[in-house]
């Protein structure tokens, strides 16, 4: 009885329903997609090159092999990335705070370049589980805690994983309205299908935090504001502005990286 009346009102007013429809759209020719990330740990840094497929095709993305991939930094170092798996180019290196890196990719006769600056390190202090009450229902969510430095503009990106499954929501934030404060960033889990989105006791959650530069923030922010990524939700969908030249899709991000895991009590 608790929520019945409220639910009744909502249902009567918004008796919404969903159905699968067919849409009329063209299948675009394949475009190059570069996802390049270098973080502040000494690991095999990866640059992946794939291609788009048509809207009606199966989601199997062709890899691009035989590309020439290198990264140079503002201190004069050059790093050559070698193809270690189809379309995956790696180099064991570490990104240094405050240094600008430039990526150079030659694939299928075209040259793509991008640069990104490694921000200064901001540490995620901890993660926690907090509970909110929504119409009498207690709901547990994950939160990341950190202290934003006051003397610079910061951009953060988070990923949330529950029991090995990544949330499909995009979490990015900047400190435009929160500069210099202790932050608690709440991360609501969003599943791909309609499975239960509430955290349960015993769930294992993992939060990754990246300190990113402003171009990469714009890239993710554009995607997140097209939430639902369909017409009539959020802004008119468009390809996010990439920091890579020559109309490549994707981005080149040199970012800090940190991961904390916890178990829900």
């Amino acid at each position: 009885m608790k929520q019945l009346i409220f639910i009744l009102c909502i249902v009567v007013c918004f008796s919404s329903c969903k159905k699968i429809i067919s849409i009329d759209t063209e299948n675009a020719p394949p475009q190059i997609v570069i996802e390049a990330k270098i973080n502040d740990r000494l690991i095999d840094q990866q640059i992946r090159i794939t291609k788009t497929v048509g809207y009606t095709d199966a989601s199997i993305y062709p890899t691009v092999s035989g590309a020439t991939v290198s990264v140079s930094d503002s201190r004069g170092n050059n790093y050559v990335f070698r193809e270690t798996a189809a379309g995956v180019y790696t180099n064991r290196m570490r990104g240094v705070y405050g240094v600008t890196y430039t990526m150079n990719v030659v694939a299928e006769g075209k040259t793509y370049t991008a640069s990104s600056k490694m921000p200064n390190l901001v540490r995620m202090d901890s993660i926690g589980i907090i509970s909110n009450t929504f119409f009498g229902n207690e709901r547990k969510t994950t939160a990341a805690y950190l202290a934003d430095p006051a003397n610079e503009t910061n951009f953060y990106r988070f990923t949330l994983n529950r029991n090995g499954i990544n949330s499909n929501r995009i979490y990015v934030s900047n400190d435009r309205l929160t500069n210099g404060n202790k932050l608690r960033i709440q991360l609501y889990f969003n599943a791909e299908d309609d499975e239960d989105e509430d955290l349960l006791s015993g769930d294992k959650v993992a939060v990754e935090m990246e300190g990113i530069d402003s171009n990469v923030f714009d890239y993710w922010y554009a995607l997140s504001s097209q939430s639902g990524r369909g017409p009539n939700q959020g802004t008119t969908p468009a390809n996010p502005t990439s920091n890579i030249s020559n109309d490549a899709l994707g981005y080149f991000s040199v970012n800090t990286y940190q991961k904390i895991t916890a178990t829900v009590k």
Binding site: K19, A28, G54, R176, D218, L223, P231, Q233, T236, N239
Partner: protein, 774 residues
């Protein structure tokens, strides 16, 4: 400077008509409803004799006709009222005050042919739609809440903002390009409950006019349309009450004389009750939640003497949405209009209006970590001075209008523990002034002209810091302007011209051209409007929006004006249109102007309208064929793309059947092409997620919308003064799943494939409303 300019123009116009023949006299007066004393707007007053002339009463029921000395037959007619016929001997200037009896108050009135008017054919005015309050009450609507804004969406050239939504687009314009006036005051946000209901409580409304084109020169400030809503004055003969109880809201209205036949008042109140049910819940987190809106309309008038009448009217409305301990959001409009009608002499009528209006919203997050309260306000002070001069062939209108805008974009206050920093975004001040003159000229019996000019000046004023930006949005320079100093000025001349040519009393062609400019703009990059939409003024970065429209129409009446037919085509050019950069952050951003893109637009279309005005069965059929496009260098490779509201076909059919004295049935049917939307042309993977690749902007189409709504009204048995009625309605009687939004998901049956999932908002929704009057 603009004033001197316009005075010169007025002088030129005045010269044109200042020469009058001798022995001409003026018949003037006010036309009212016999039972309530409400002034009748747009009633036809005709003098026939050795020569004949006709005019319409103005917004205050006033008219003046000048004719040569002689004996005339005076005929006053108004739709739904019995004609008043009198003999007038014009040997001096005469004043009359006539009252018409409503046709349904009379025992057996044969509505004769000459009771119906051919004003639609004759007048030079184009693109004007009048909403008949009688049919507004019969047309079925969502949850039985009769609504002005939903009714106008059933007219050709007006497109709905979405399912059950009161937002509207006129002839390819955007939602913020409609000038919405309530007793002359601008209503910035005309929606309640996220757009499902409008701020106009039909009980309090007397007259609704929508100009889709050919705007007369007294209106200005928005590109696409003028929706001029006028409130009831109140019954000046006896006290009356009316009200209703519906599923969503209840209404109560009281009116009566202040001094019989001299002054009256009207107060109307409406409130929703969903939250009263919430409050009944034993759960504290539910009963602490709010979800409501309310409206108060109030008006009073007093006739000081034969020459002076004062009016004061106001509107106050608010929406409240809140979940206990989580968030609160409220928004609302306030308008106050003080007016003085002054009759200098029988030919010169003036109205002075002092108007205050504001729109404000508050958003509050209540949890401790992100606790903040954000408020925003748009506030206007407006002075209007309007003159109407009636001569025998001309109705001259001229005046001045000065508006001071103050926009407080956002004010954020926070608690000590909150991680959000307090922020106050600089206020913006603007001064809009306009001078206009227009002349309605009956050149011959067949040729009518309505022409005029409006000089619109806009000044962005200090105090404030104003920045200019480079292409990537970085600040190039910032100037500090002191309080009261002008920073940026724009001057626009807006010519308005309409002409009609009558082949005969039943057939005419009309043409019009008009230019409109706009200096206050809404910034929103969401595809639907929200209470937190932000307003900005024209500035060093944002140039005034400009629209030029040409239209051509054919008007025909049949069967003694019982059937009206019209066909209009239009073409509109739009300049300095606004769109947004990728990843634009519009809220609480002092450099919001760096996030904007500027482009052009075009819109063209054909509108057909067929209407049966009286009889047991009446109603209309409207059809619109149209195209609306925008072009921005930075979007869609610099090519034209369809606007979201570009819907090729729009059909609406409204039928009202008065079966007998007790039962009235009505239905409305709509069909429209889906919105232009952007569909993915490909997909790729980033960080393990499926991303979509887009090629052309808005090249896709949502599925079409089709809906049939029905309603039936049962009038109670007449028990003297006391009347009541029941209205039963069914919204979406075909239970069709109309598209609201589309989301792309992995096919549940085959996860490697992508499918489109459509969400529909409303299924079949029944409603019942009980109304009373005494």
């Amino acid at each position: 400077m603009p004033i001197r300019y316009s005075l010169a123009i007025i002088f030129l116009f005045a010269l044109n008509i200042s020469v009058f023949a001798q022995n001409k006299f003026t018949l003037s007066g006010t036309i009212r409803d016999a039972s309530s004393g409400e002034t009748l707007i747009g009633a036809t007053v005709r003098l026939t004799g050795s020569s004949s002339a006709a005019t319409l009463t103005n917004a205050y029921g006033y008219f003046a006709l000048t004719q040569a000395e002689g004996t005339y037959t005076l005929t006053i007619s108004y739709t739904g009222y019995a004609n008043q016929v009198k003999t007038i001997v014009l040997t001096k200037n005469l004043k009359i005050n006539e009252e018409l009896k409503a046709a349904n108050d009379l025992a057996e009135v044969t509505v004769s042919g000459n009771n119906r008017r051919n004003e639609n054919v004759k007048s030079a005015q184009m693109g004007l739609e009048k909403i008949d309050m009688q049919s507004l009450n019969s047309i079925p609507v969502l949850l039985g809440e009769k609504d002005v804004l939903k009714t106008i969406q059933l007219l050709p050239g007006v497109k709905s903002g979405g399912e059950g939504n009161t937002g509207f687009y006129v002839r390819g314009g955007a939602a913020d390009q409609n000038l919405i006036l309530l007793d002359e005051a601008v209503v910035y946000n005309s929606s309640h409950l996220l757009g499902f209901f409008s701020t106009f409580n039909a009980d309090a409304i007397k007259d609704v006019s929508l100009y889709k084109g050919g705007m007369p020169a007294q209106y200005g400030g928005r590109l696409s349309s003028v929706l001029d809503v006028k409130m009831d004055d109140g019954n000046n003969k006896e006290f009356k009450f009316q009200g209703g109880i519906g599923l969503i809201a209840s209404r109560l209205k009281a009116e009566g004389p202040i001094v019989k036949d001299k002054g009256s008042f009207m107060v109307s109140f409406r409130r929703t009750y969903i939250d009263l049910f919430l409050r009944a819940s034993p759960d504290s987190s539910i009963n602490g939640s709010t979800l409501n809106f309310y409206d108060i309309n109030a008006k009073a008038n007093y006739k000081i003497d034969d020459k002076n009448t004062i009016y004061i009217s106001g509107y106050f409305g608010k929406d409240n949405i809140g979940v206990k301990d989580l968030f609160e959001n409220n928004w609302g409009n306030v308008t106050t209009t003080f007016r003085l009608n002054h009759i200098f002499n029988s030919r010169l009528f003036s109205n002075t209006s002092l108007i205050y209006n504001n729109y404000n919203y508050t958003v509050q997050l209540l949890n401790d970590a992100t606790n903040f309260k954000a408020t925003s306000l748009v506030r206007d002070f407006n002075l209007k001075e309007d003159f109407q001069y009636f001569s025998n062939k001309h109705t001259l209108r001229f005046g001045l209008n000065v508006t001071q805008h103050r926009i407080s974009p956002i004010d954020i206050t926070t608690t000590q523990e909150s991680q959000v920093n307090p922020l106050t975004q600089e206020k913006r001040y603007g001064l809009e002034s306009a001078a206009y003159v227009s002349d309605e000229w009956a050149v011959t019996e067949k040729l009518n002209l309505l022409y005029g000019i409006r000089l619109a000046a806009f000044s962005l004023m200090g105090p404030g810091n104003f920045s200019t930006y480079d292409a990537s949005g970085n600040v190039i320079s910032t100037r500090n302007i002191a309080s009261g100093k002008f920073y940026k000025n724009y001057l626009n001349l807006e010519p308005r011209f309409s002409v009609s040519y009558l082949f005969n009393e039943q057939n005419s062609v009309k043409a019009s051209y008009n230019r409109n400019t706009q200096n206050i703009h809404i910034l929103t990059n969401a595809t639907s409007s929200s209470p937190t939409d932000q307003y900005v003024l024209s500035s060093n970065n944002i140039k005034p929006e400009i629209a030029d429209q040409v239209a051509l129409g054919y008007f025909k009446n049949l069967e003694e004006n019982n059937y009206e037919f019209s066909g209009e085509i239009y073409y509109k050019w739009l300049q300095n249109q606004i769109d947004y950069k990728n990843a634009a952050q519009l809220l609480a951003n002092s450099n919001v102007e760096s996030e904007l893109l500027y482009g052009v637009g075009r819109a063209y279309g054909l509108e057909l309208f067929f209407k049966k005005k009286t009889g047991k069965l009446n109603g209309w059929i409207g059809y619109t064929l149209s195209r609306t496009e925008r072009k921005f260098a930075e979007l869609n490779n610099g090519n034209y793309f369809p606007s979201r509201q570009d819907r090729t076909h729009d059909v609406s059919v409204v039928g009202i059947y008065n079966m007998n004295k007790r039962w009235t049935f009505s239905s409305s049917f709509i069909y429209s092409t889906g919105n232009a939307v952007t569909f993915p042309a490909g997909k790729y993977t980033i960080s393990g997620q499926t991303m979509y690749y887009y090629t052309q902007r808005n090249a896709g189409r949502m599925p079409y919308t089709m809906r049939l709504d029905l309603s039936a009204t049962l009038e109670g048995k007449n028990k003297g003064k006391y009347q009541s009625s029941w209205t039963f309605g069914v919204y979406n009687a075909l239970a069709r799943k109309n598209p609201y939004s589309i989301e792309f998901i992995n096919d549940p049956a085959n996860p490697s494939k992508t499918v489109a999932e459509q969400t529909s908002l409303f299924g079949m929704i029944p409603s019942v409303t009980w109304n009373f009057k005494f």
